[in-house]
Symmetry: C2
Subunit: 426 residues, 2 copies
C-alpha cells in the first residue's frame, strides 16, 4: 500500500501558513495534554493540534484495524507496535479527513470543536515511553574534530570508527520534551595540572546538535535485523539535544564511556515526523571507504536532506544562530546503526530511541557543538547582544530547529528549546 | 517502624528445609505465572510460591494502605513506588500470616489452595519492568586484574578509579530472568595482528559474576540523592550475570565503552531479596584510600556479607564450581553508587537496576569471570568431566548462586541459570 499523504498538490481546509513546518503533507505524531487536562495522542497541521483520540471516537478511522483506546494513551508505544502498515493507513486517513475537498469534518462545527485545539490550549508531552536509548557517534566530521582536539590530527579517528557505527547506551529517564528547563550539573572534575579531583558545578556545559529515530518492536532477543529490513522498523525522527558536561566527561569517561557528563538531561522535539513524510528528501549515502562488512552494506539510499540550525538566546536577550548543519552529512545511516545494534541479537522495542551523535558539517560554521564551534573555547562565538560564548551560560536557552524543503513542500520538525538554569539548590 | 521479620527464632507452619534460601526470615518479592496462566506478584517460603494478589483479595493485608490491584500486576514497579514504609508493613504482615502460631491461613484449606503453589506449578518472570539499567565497575580486584592484563601491573587502575564509582549505561531490553537460554552473539572483531576486522561468532563468551540492586523513584530530574538517604531508595537485590563477549568488546569499546559485547543478554535471579532481609549481614565497608569526596562519604556500614559461587555445567554433564567470591569485597558501596549516579541530577525511577560490576575476591579462585580465572585463557579450568574451559562453550549452562549465613539463619537468593546456545540461525 502506497503512502498517499506526500502528494505535494494536496490542500487542506485548515489555514496553514506557507512557511509552516506542518503542512498537510507532514502529519507527525505526538502526545499532548488538552485544555481539559486529558492526555491524548494527536497530530498537527499548521498551528492546529488535532486530537486523534476524539476523531477515533467520532468514527473517523472506521475501517482501519485499531483498538478503541489506541489514541487515548499517554504514549505512542502501542500505536507504534501496530506496525508500518497501520501507521500508513492512519496517516493517509488523516490526509483525507483534512483534504480541502472532504466536507465530513470540515463542515461539522461540533466535531471540529471537540477535536481541534490551538497550540496555546495544549501542552506537549514526551511522545513515547522510551525503554532504551542509544546514542551513536556517526558524523565523521564530529569524530574527526573531537579526535583532533584530544589526540592530534594524525590519530583523530579511532581504528574502529570506519568499520563500526560506534555507539553507547544512554539514560532514558533523563530525556525530556521541549520547554522543560534543566539545571547545570555538578560533579567531579580533574582540573588541568591538578593531582586530585574537585567537586563543583560543571564549567563546560555544551549542547550537541543531534537527531534521533524511534523504533517499533523489531525482533526477538537473539535475532539480528537485516540491513535491508531495518528502515521498516523505524517509525520516525525527532530533533535531539544531547546536553553534555565536557569537564565531567573528560575525567570520567575512560574506560567505560560517558556517564554523568550526559545523563543529566537530553531534550527532544515533541512531534515525531514519520519516515514516510521524509521519503521525498532521501539523498545518496555518504561514500564509505573502506567498504563496510556485508551485514552493514546496502545499495539503497538511506540518507536524508534535513536542514538543522541552533540558536542560543541569553536571558531576555536576542537569539544568535550559532551553527547551520544538515543530517545528510552523517557517515553511517540509521539503517546501518539499527543493523549493527542488533547483529548480536540485542532486542529492540517499540519506543526505543537512537540518537545520531553530534551532526557536524564540513565547515567550521556547521559544527554541531560549542566544543567544536569554539575549538575548546579558543575561538569564542560573538553573540548579537555583544557578549561572547565559549560554552553555555546559566539562563541561556538553546534551540534546535530542523526542516526539509524542496520546490513544492516544506516538512519540518518544529523545534526543541531548553533553558539552562543554575545548579539545583534545595 | 521496625522490621519484625528478621526475628531468627520465628518458625512457620509451612515445611521449610533447614538449608533453604527462603526461610520465613527472607520473604523476597517476585512475579510469576500461575498454573491458571494468571500473572501475579508473589513471595516464596521454602519451596512454596505464595500468590500475594490472591491473599490481598482474601483480605490478608487489611489495614495496610494498598490499592486493590497492587499485586495483580506483571511487575513490582508500582509496589516499589509505594516506598520503604509500605514494603516493611507488607513484609511484616507476610511474616505474621505464615507464623506457626497464626491459624488464619494455616487452618483454612480453601484459602491455602487458592494462594499457595508448589514451584513446579509456576513460571518465574522478570520481577520489574526495568526502565534504565546501569552497570558499575566497583570491585578493585576485578579492575586491577583486567587493568593488569591489558595495560600491565603499573598502570592497572585508571587514575579516576579510586575517586569515582565508575559506571556506564547498559541495555535494559536484554535483561532476562533465570532459565531463558541465549544465543552466542556474532559481530565484528579485530584478530591479533590483522589489519581489517572480521565478522563471525564471538570466540570469547564469558560470564560476569555480579549482583544488582533495584531502586524506587528517588528524585526529580535535577535533584541529587544524598549518600545518607541512598539506602532508603533501594528495594532489594538480585544475582546478576552480565554476559560478555570479550573479543567484540576489545574492538568496539574505545572511546565510548562496551556496547554489543554486553547487550546480547544479562540474566538475573527472579526473587528480589529486600534490603531489610539483608540487614543482619551488614559488614564494614572496605577501607577507602584516598578518602572520597564529601558527596561519597558516609560513616555508616553499607556493605554486605553475601557468599557467591558460579557453576559451569556442560550439556548432559556434571556441574563444576569455578569460583567462590563474596559481595563484601566491593570497594564502592551501593549507597555510594546511587549518590554518585544522581549527583548531576540524573533521575532514578522505580524498577531501575544497577549492577555492581564483576565481583572478584583477592585470591585467584575467587575471581568473577573466566577472563580473570583463566587469565585470558592462559590457565584453562579443569572441568569434572575431564574437559577444559577457557571461556564458555556452546550448550554450557552458567549458574550463579548466592546466600548470606550466620549461626541462626540463612537468607539466599536462589540462583540464576542460563544456557548458551550456538549462534542464532533463521
Amino acid at each position: 500500500m502506497p503512502d498517499t499523504t506526500n502528494n505535494p498538490n494536496r490542500k487542506t481546509w485548515l489555514q496553514v501558513s506557507k512557511d509552516s513546518d506542518f503542512p498537510i503533507q507532514n502529519i507527525p505524531f505526538g502526545v499532548f495534554l488538552t485544555r481539559d487536562d486529558i492526555i491524548t495522542i494527536g497530530t498537527r497541521i499548521g498551528d492546529y493540534a488535532i486530537d486523534l483520540g476524539a476523531l477515533h471516537q467520532l468514527g473517523y478511522f472506521e475501517g482501519i484495524p485499531l483498538t478503541d483506546d489506541i489514541f487515548l494513551q499517554d504514549s505512542l508505544n502501542d500505536f507504534i507496535s501496530d506496525g508500518k502498515k497501520t501507521w500508513r493507513l492512519v496517516r493517509n486517513r488523516i490526509g483525507d479527513i483534512f483534504d480541502i475537498e472532504n466536507p465530513a469534518l470540515r463542515d461539522n462545527e461540533n466535531h471540529r470543536n471537540i477535536a481541534l485545539f490551538t497550540l496555546n490550549e495544549i501542552e506537549m508531552q514526551l511522545p513515547v515511553q522510551i525503554g532504551d536509548y542509544t546514542d551513536f557517534y556517526s558524523s565523521k566530521e564530529h569524530a574527526t574534530n573531537v579526535g583532533t582536539m584530544f589526540r592530534g590530527a594524525d590519530n583523530a579517528l579511532m581504528p574502529n570508527w570506519l568499520h563500526i557505527p560506534v555507539g553507547y547506551h544512554g539514560r532514558s529517564s533523563s530525556i525530556i520534551p521541549t520547554n522543560i528547563p534543566i539545571h547545570r550539573p555538578q560533579g567531579q572534575t580533574m582540573p588541568e595540572n591538578a593531582t586530585t579531583p574537585v567537586f563543583g558545578p560543571s564549567k563546560l556545559v555544551d549542547f550537541e546538535l543531534e537527531m534521533a529515530f524511534i523504533t517499533t518492536d523489531a525482533n526477538l532477543l537473539g535475532e539480528p535485523i537485516p540491513i535491508d529490513e531495518a528502515e521498516d522498523y523505524i517509525f520516525g525522527m525527532v530533533l535531539f539535544n544531547d546536553w553534555s558536561a565536557r569537564d565531567i566527561q573528560k575525567w570520567e569517561y575512560v574506560p567505560l564511556g560517558p556517564f554523568l557528563a550526559k545523563n543529566f538531561a537530553s531534550s527532544i522535539s515533541p512531534w515525531i515526523v514519520t519516515m514516510d513524510a521524509l521519503l521525498p528528501f532521501k539523498v545518496d549515502n555518504v561514500q564509505q571507504d573502506p567498504e563496510p562488512l556485508p551485514y552493514l552494506k546496502s545499495d539503497e539510499k538511506m540518507n536524508y536532506d534535513i536542514h538543522l540550525e541552533v540558536d542560543i538566546t541569553p536571558k531576555d536577550g536576542e537569539a544568535t544562530t550559532v551553527t547551520k548543519s544538515n543530517f545528510k552529512y552523517m557517515y553511517w545511516t540509521m539503517a546501518q546503526q539499527l543493523a549493527h545494534h542488533t547483529i548480536n541479537g540485542c532486542k529492540v522495542n517499540s519506543g526505543d530511541m537512537m540518537g545520531s551523535g553530534t551532526i557536524s558539517g564540513p565547515t567550521p560554521d556547521s559544527y554541531g557543538s560549542m566544543l567544536e564551534l569554539t575549538w575548546r573555547g579558543e575561538k569564542p562565538i560573538q553573540m548579537k547582544d555583544g557578549t561572547e560564548r565559549k560554552f553555555i551560560n546559566d539562563y541561556d536557552t538553546v534551540t534546535i530547529r530542523g526542516y526539509c524543503k524542496n520546490e513544492q513542500v516544506r516538512i519540518g520538525f518544529g523545534d526543541v528549546s531548553t533553558q539552562l538554569l543554575p545548579v539545583f539548590k534545595k
